[in-house]
């Protein structure tokens, strides 16, 4: 489709971070036809990252921090249908059926359906609270009072962030993790160790190497039983055991799905009129040797949304920024760029006794990822420089990387 054709209808399913960015990007790129965003939630796009951080610790008061794009829907004449689910997709007819009985036709479609929190499939699993939406966060927040016993299932990013926030709220927190360490999916062991130690220093208890077998409702609270035979009393149980991509709509319509809606590097699905982006999409990643990845990160959601919009309008931009995420726990900041597990050698750069940056190099000495933990002002610049070096496929001198007084930015001039 081209900008000049003022007719035509572009529909975006999902009014999250990704869908919102895509809608605004279409207008920024000059699209004058119709843009409709259909969202199951009742709100304009809002920022989820705060839900487990500032909102739970009461640093921010609203769970619906409208993001930069949501304020532009009105002025840019982007139609937003709220509180309505897209039930089915008829690709041959180019039409969508909504839960309220309406039908919409599209010329091009973007699926930005995101992901849903995975629920524990154990007896009583429905009593564990999950955190994905502002409503989930409001519900959890009302239960985090000083002295409350909180059991968290899962030592990934969400589990740890909630553990930190609940601790800050004065709760007594126990975290149960099936693996023998936290963050095993996304950060190297040195960083996981620093994070765990920080949590322990604040009083968080960890139970490693065991799953949760059941949750029972007792008159005086909940009883959590682990697969190792331990039992724990709890006032609140919160599960942070991952998210599942919302692919039902795509699957039923016969689109290729492979741990997310499959797209090529241009974010186009197996149907050329349909694109997918954000947490719901598994895309071929050109910077990572064409590996197929589903990223669950805020910046990827924004970037992919924007690039999908441009491609819908006839550009050919590859999605190609590196995986990047951050996390905040107590005063510790975590930032990771690239995929640390793809590196063989790790070079450590200690920026202070409790700020560590790891550079992950592959067999040829090429920088493929960097991961850091510590105060934001110590780690952020170096991570950003590392990101640019990774994108250039640079092979920096390991001795310089390890030397904290060396100004890393100098390597960019080389």
């Amino acid at each position: 489709m081209t900008n000049e054709t003022a007719t035509g209808q572009i529909i975006i399913v999902g009014a999250g971070e990704c869908g919102g960015r895509a809608a605004v990007a279409l207008r920024e790129r000059g699209w004058k036809g119709k843009v409709t965003v259909v969202g199951e939630e009742t709100l304009p796009p809002y920022e989820r990252p705060q839900l487990s951080k500032g909102f739970l610790t009461k640093k921010v008061e609203t769970s619906t921090f409208g993001n930069a794009d949501s304020t532009k829907f009105g002025p840019l004449e982007i139609e937003h249908l709220v509180n309505v689910k897209v039930e089915s997709l008829d690709r041959a007819a180019h039409s969508l059926s909504l839960a309220d009985g309406r039908h919409l036709s599209y010329d091009r479609l973007l699926l930005a359906t995101g992901a849903s929190a995975r629920r524990p499939s154990i007896p009583g699993g429905e009593m564990a609270l999950c955190l994905r939406t502002s409503a989930d966060a409001e519900n959890i927040r009302t239960r985090l009072h000083p002295g409350r016993k909180v059991v968290i299932i899962g030592g990934g990013l969400i589990g740890l962030e909630v553990a930190a926030s609940a601790t800050i709220q004065g709760c007594s927190v126990t975290l149960i993790e099936r693996n023998d360490k936290v963050l095993s999916r996304c950060a190297p062991i040195s960083i996981a160790g620093i994070v765990e130690a920080r949590h322990r220093a604040e009083g968080v208890r960890f139970i490693f190497g065991t799953g949760v077998k059941s949750i029972e409702d007792r008159t005086d609270g909940l009883l959590v039983s682990t697969t190792a035979g331990l039992t724990l009393d709890a006032d609140v149980v919160i599960a942070g055991i991952g998210a599942l991509p919302n692919v039902a709509l795509a699957k039923a319509a016969g689109l290729a799905v492979d741990n997310g809606i499959s797209t090529n590097e241009f974010l186009q699905t197996s149907d050329p009129d349909i694109y997918a982006a954000g947490d719901c999409a598994s895309t071929v990643h050109p910077l990572l040797d064409g590996v197929r990845l589903r990223l669950e990160s805020w910046r990827s959601a924004l970037e992919q949304g924007e690039r999908a919009a441009r491609n819908i309008l006839g550009e050919d931009v590859r999605q190609g920024t590196l995986p990047w995420f951050w996390s905040d726990q107590f005063e510790l900041c975590l930032q990771v760029v690239g995929l640390p597990q793809t590196g063989g050698t790790t070079i450590e750069r200690w920026l202070s006794p409790d700020a560590l940056l790891n550079f992950h190099l592959d067999g040829e000495g090429r920088l493929v990822a960097a991961s850091a933990v510590g105060q934001l002002n110590l780690i952020a610049k170096d991570i950003r420089v590392a990101e640019m070096l990774i994108a250039r496929r640079a092979r920096p001198d390991p001795r310089l990387l390890a030397e904290p007084t060396y100004r890393l930015k100098t390597l960019l001039a080389a």
């Binding site: 960015r21 920022e47 930069a68 951050w326 952020a380 610049k381 950003r384």
Partner: protein, 106 residues
């Protein structure tokens, strides 16, 4: 309104293509030096989540927020797109006798 020129730092306190934080009477600023030795000043906190921009990376005339990489042109204060949508306030700067002065309204 009386405009005051405040002595903020020595010209050499900021490296080329870099930024420092400057606090004055309860306000915080970010002062920038470009590769070609021009100096600029903006409000010190990101308009997204009030993080100190001085921990961010300067590239050309762009300051990138250390927290979520929101970008601003520090010569104009313009926010360059999601996640930041509110521009930064800018302040006039002059360099005299190797000192950097920022004009702050009193």
């Amino acid at each position: 309104m009386i405009a005051n020129w405040i002595d903020a730092c020595a010209a050499g306190d900021i490296e080329n293509e870099d930024v420092i934080r400057f606090d004055h009477e309860g306000q915080t600023f970010a002062i920038y030096r470009t590769e070609d030795d021009r100096y600029f000043a903006t409000a010190g906190l990101c308009t997204h989540e009030a993080v100190h921009l001085s921990s961010g990376l300067v590239m050309g005339t762009i300051i990138e927020c250390p927290k979520h990489n929101g970008r601003f042109d520090f010569t104009s204060g313009k926010a360059k797109g999601a996640p930041v949508c509110v521009d930064l306030r800018t302040f006039p700067v002059k360099v005299e006798d190797d000192r950097v002065y920022v004009q702050i309204d009193a």
